[in-house]
């Protein structure tokens, strides 16, 4: 498994103030060879999209624990397209009930993760999506 040379933005949109999960994922991605940029807490979808484009990332991983994941994914995707970053792959992770998966996929997410998954599996799935590039 190798994410060597891939650039990934880990971002925390919305108001929840807990980023242990985001940081753990960031470290795991780094250890898989990726260059990881982390935004810090409480960023707007517009800001995240701008950073994603400036940093020319291959993927954005949103970490959301607030429950507003569907709206935040939709907004982030809209801003990514407006910033000419519509080709950047969007992943979302956090406390996400399974029944929201369809809505998230429709909103533009390509991968959905929750706390019950093993980190290796998360990294492997991101790798699979990004390897297609």
């Amino acid at each position: 498994m190798s994410l060597a040379g891939k650039r990934i933005l880990i971002a925390k949109p919305g108001l929840d103030g807990h980023d242990v999960g985001a940081k753990i994922i960031a470290l795991a991605l780094r250890d898989a060879g990726a260059e990881v940029i982390y935004t810090g807490l409480r960023k707007s979808p517009e800001y995240i999209a701008r950073v994603a484009v400036e940093e020319d990332v291959d993927a954005v991983g949103l970490s959301i624990l607030s429950g507003s994941h569907v709206d935040l994914v939709r907004d982030t995707m809209r801003h990514l397209r407006a910033a000419e970053g519509g080709n950047i792959k969007l992943f979302v992770g956090g406390t996400i009930p399974q029944e929201d998966n369809a809505a998230l996929l429709e909103a533009g997410a390509v991968g959905i993760f929750n706390a019950s998954q093993r980190i290796e599996d998360v990294v492997a799935e991101m790798d699979k999506h990004l390897a297609a590039d």
Partner: protein, 305 residues
Amino acid sequence: MPPTDTPNGVLDASARRRLAREISRLATASAHSVLRAPPTSVAPPARRIGFTGPPGVGKSTLVGKLVERRAAAGTSVGVLAIDPASPYSKGAILGDRIRMDQASADPRVFMRSVSSRDSQDGMCNNVADILCAMEVHGFDEIVMETVGVGQAEHAVKALVDTVVLLMQPETGDAIQALKAGILEVADIIVVSKSDLHGAPKMREVLASTVRFGAQRAVNWTVPVIGVSVETGKGLDELEAALTAHAGWVARHRTPAETARRRATYRVQDLVLRRLEDQLATLSPDDYDLPLPELYQRVLTGLAQI
């Protein structure tokens, strides 16, 4: 490619995208592909300021605050932040952005993090070309931040107009600075976190070191400024010093000299990378050769394109 209208450093979505992609291309380009189409700088060039110093000294925090202030005053700024890559996975956490979020939301700011990858001097590959590619977009200023690891200070000196060296309020650092001789490259020295205990002492030690050291630049005494981003103290003084040094540069360095210095770094960087590629092609048997023959073999290999 430069945008069609006069670039003023305020980028629309597509210019942002374009510059971002160009930086990615250059950051991973081989020496050969850079040589095929080297980016060229345009006049008038951006003022370049480099920030360097040991990890954790507060470079990103200071750069973030300073860029925020300058952008608010109408200056367009391109920021290039270089972070080290993990020697194990080659991956990296590029964390400078977290400390610059106020600044990097401003439309007059373009901010980019890059990994030092396998660069030997703490910079990133093709950094001279990346700076040129940024300059094309007409920023008033380009700010480069790099981790201070020995050679980095000298590299940054070659590429920017003004070098700001950050030191922390701990005496151990002053001794380190004297040992490594890194103080000598600084045009301005900042004692960061100056609200902390020990900062005045550190400033004193550094100021006397500067005073008693050999004066390197005519008519320029390196100022030692205590800055606390936390309280805002010292930021005005730092901006005044940056302005004063810009004036000094205008009076004492010709554009031709600056161009020559940068060209020297650029060609040296390319040759060194070519040398690394060349060394990687040697077989274990080659190392059995007597040193003069091994040396000759490497030189011969270098000459072949």
